[in-house]
Symmetry: C2
Subunit: 375 residues, 2 copies
């Protein structure tokens, strides 16, 4: 299922091919976030043609609430519902239950929570979250975990981690005893937790590895901790998780975060940052970060990004995009989102090329300071 | 510049070809409204590929305020600024000055008004509105007129109409004594006024015709009067305006309005209705009107419109579009706008085919009741 094509000799970066029921993904990869069955402001055709997305992410929590799993099952799953034929991954709802819903009660059984839409009381358990993700039908589905906040005291983090491990056992049992609903295979990925404590992270990674699933994930980072802590935890975990399986770092991050973590051995990323920041006029480029709302771009008739993979970024000028944001027109966020997601996909594709050529480490060290520059 | 290819023998409908500096337009035509340099939520590539727009409209008032004509002149006009190579038309700002700006003072010289953005005091005169439209650089530009509201008392309507005629004289003088700024020709279209009074409309049409410009327009309708009044005024005016020149009915209307007015001899239309209503979930189809927010579409997995010219409408289901509106995702209005504008362009294109085949009248009478049906 996962084939490593080349390893960088100066770092832990690797270029791989990840096979799924809906096609092969070239890793390292970035997965645009399509929360409720849509990447905000982006047509599905633009995901393939402009952004070159190979896999997108959906959120179990949101999809469970609307359109609801009955509707998804009737149409044959989320792929069919939204018109997306490539690979898809769903998270387990764990993160959203903690970040979005109101009152919640975490027990051994699962999490009782109130819908952020109508306050309706709901229960997520390891078992029903597996069933829900069977109904959604993503190629890769995630185990139900507790995502601890930052900061998190040691004792809470340890207790929570152990419960996440027990929940994982229940997830695997349910997953392994149920069949996919739409005639293609799904893969369950467990999640390493342990907050910012190296010993817990190591212990969790060992536990997760012992389940011997096809993909392993790292959760609970990028929740507010300093970047150095995130890198340290990622490094500890990558040393333990088996090399021959893809590693997915959830919710990370900035362009430089992504390159650093590729260097530590991460293969898969998702993050709302490029799309959310695009909607606020922040553009990522290989030369640095542009706040397109800044008056300095008002009469800059150069292209948004002449080197972009996206036609849109090579077609429109900075002045036009500045104007669209200034007059608060929908097309501004649309163009900026295409640009940023296309840039993220370019970044991981370029990282892959550098890994294959065994030039990744030097390239990364050269480009990372530029990526953080404010233009 | 305008060539009539065929006339319908059972109505006054005609199929024509209108030549402009940026290409030939097949008439009758509908012009999507691109107020501030963007058709809301629509990429320029979608205007050509999905919607099959042949000409779009810009609003002088909005463009004058932002990005401003200095910026537009620096980049070489609105076409270059927004990346649109096909024909373009700008209104004169007359309508917006009355409908959007705050305090305004109408005098013989022109209109003093306050910007709706910052309250800044501005003056539009027939002369400076010509200069502004030279700077914007549309292929077809409109004379500065007073657009009277509905209802409007007879004496005000008559006084206003005479002033619009005097303003037209000044517009023509300024226009004819200035050169285009970007190396291609522009055409000035005068506007018939006269509110809902047949004698005034007739008088105004005669006056406007006497200026012998290449395109003639009809303004001040679709401002709240009953449809029957709009048709009656359009008929009176079309009988007077020369047959060999294109007739543009400003701001009209619903799909059935458009077909009825094509039957009366109108060649060009613009209206915010299809795009504005799309953003509220109202879809126009050949079978009738769909309110996609209605719960009845929740699990309707049929295509939005299997017969649409737009790939988007033949790709996504009603259930998916319903979901997007329900969760208030940007992609909902985007898809609906593509659908509606594509439908309007299909409607005028189909009307043209029927005129060429001399079957327009029967076809129109058959389709009009369907167009008004609520599905």
């Amino acid at each position: 299922m996962f084939k490593i094509e080349n390893k960088d000799t100066s770092s832990s970066a690797r270029a791989g091919l990840l096979e799924t029921a809906h096609g092969v993904i070239e890793t390292p990869i970035f997965m645009p976030v399509g929360t409720i069955g849509t990447v905000k402001g982006i047509h599905q055709s633009e995901l393939t043609e402009e952004i070159k997305a190979q896999i997108i992410l959906g959120n179990t929590y949101h999809l469970f609430l609307r359109p609801g799993v009955d509707t998804l099952e009737k149409v044959g799953g989320l792929h069919k519902f939204i018109g997306w034929e490539k690979p898809m991954l769903t998270d387990s709802g764990g993160y959203q239950v903690y970040s979005l819903s109101g009152r919640r009660k975490i027990k051994e059984e699962g999490v009782k929570f109130a819908s952020h839409i109508d306050g309706y009381k709901l229960l997520f358990t390891p078992e029903n979250v597996m069933d829900i993700q069977r109904q959604i039908g993503a190629d890769i589905i995630m185990a139900f975990d507790e995502c601890t906040p930052y900061p998190c005291d040691y004792h809470y983090a340890r207790r929570s981690m152990h419960m996440t491990h027990r929940w994982l056992k229940r997830c695997c049992e349910r997953f392994d005893n149920t069949e996919p609903l739409y005639g293609y295979d799904q893969v369950l990925a467990p999640i390493v937790q342990g907050s910012t404590y190296k010993d817990l992270r190591k212990q969790s990674a060992e536990q997760i590895a012992s389940f011997d699933r096809k993909i392993n994930a790292i959760g609970g980072l990028s929740v507010g901790e300093p970047h150095e802590d995130m890198y340290a935890m990622t490094e500890v975990v990558c040393e333990v998780l088996p090399e021959e399986k893809p590693r997915y770092l959830m919710g990370v991050g900035t362009p430089d975060n992504i390159l650093e973590c590729i260097g530590l051995g991460i293969d898969m990323f998702d993050c709302v940052l490029p799309s959310r920041n695009a909607r606020h006029g922040l553009l990522y480029t290989a030369e640095g970060i542009i706040n397109i709302k800044n008056a300095k771009w008002r009469e800059d008739f150069s292209l948004i990004d002449a080197t972009s993979n996206a036609h849109t970024s090579r077609f429109h000028t900075k002045a036009y995009l500045h104007h669209l944001f200034r007059v608060k027109e929908l097309l501004g966020p649309q163009i900026a989102t295409i640009h940023n997601l296309s840039f993220y996909l370019w970044l991981v594709q370029e990282a892959r090329t550098q890994i294959v050529n065994n030039t990744f480490y030097d390239w990364k060290n050269k480009i990372v300071p530029r990526l953080k520059t404010r233009l």
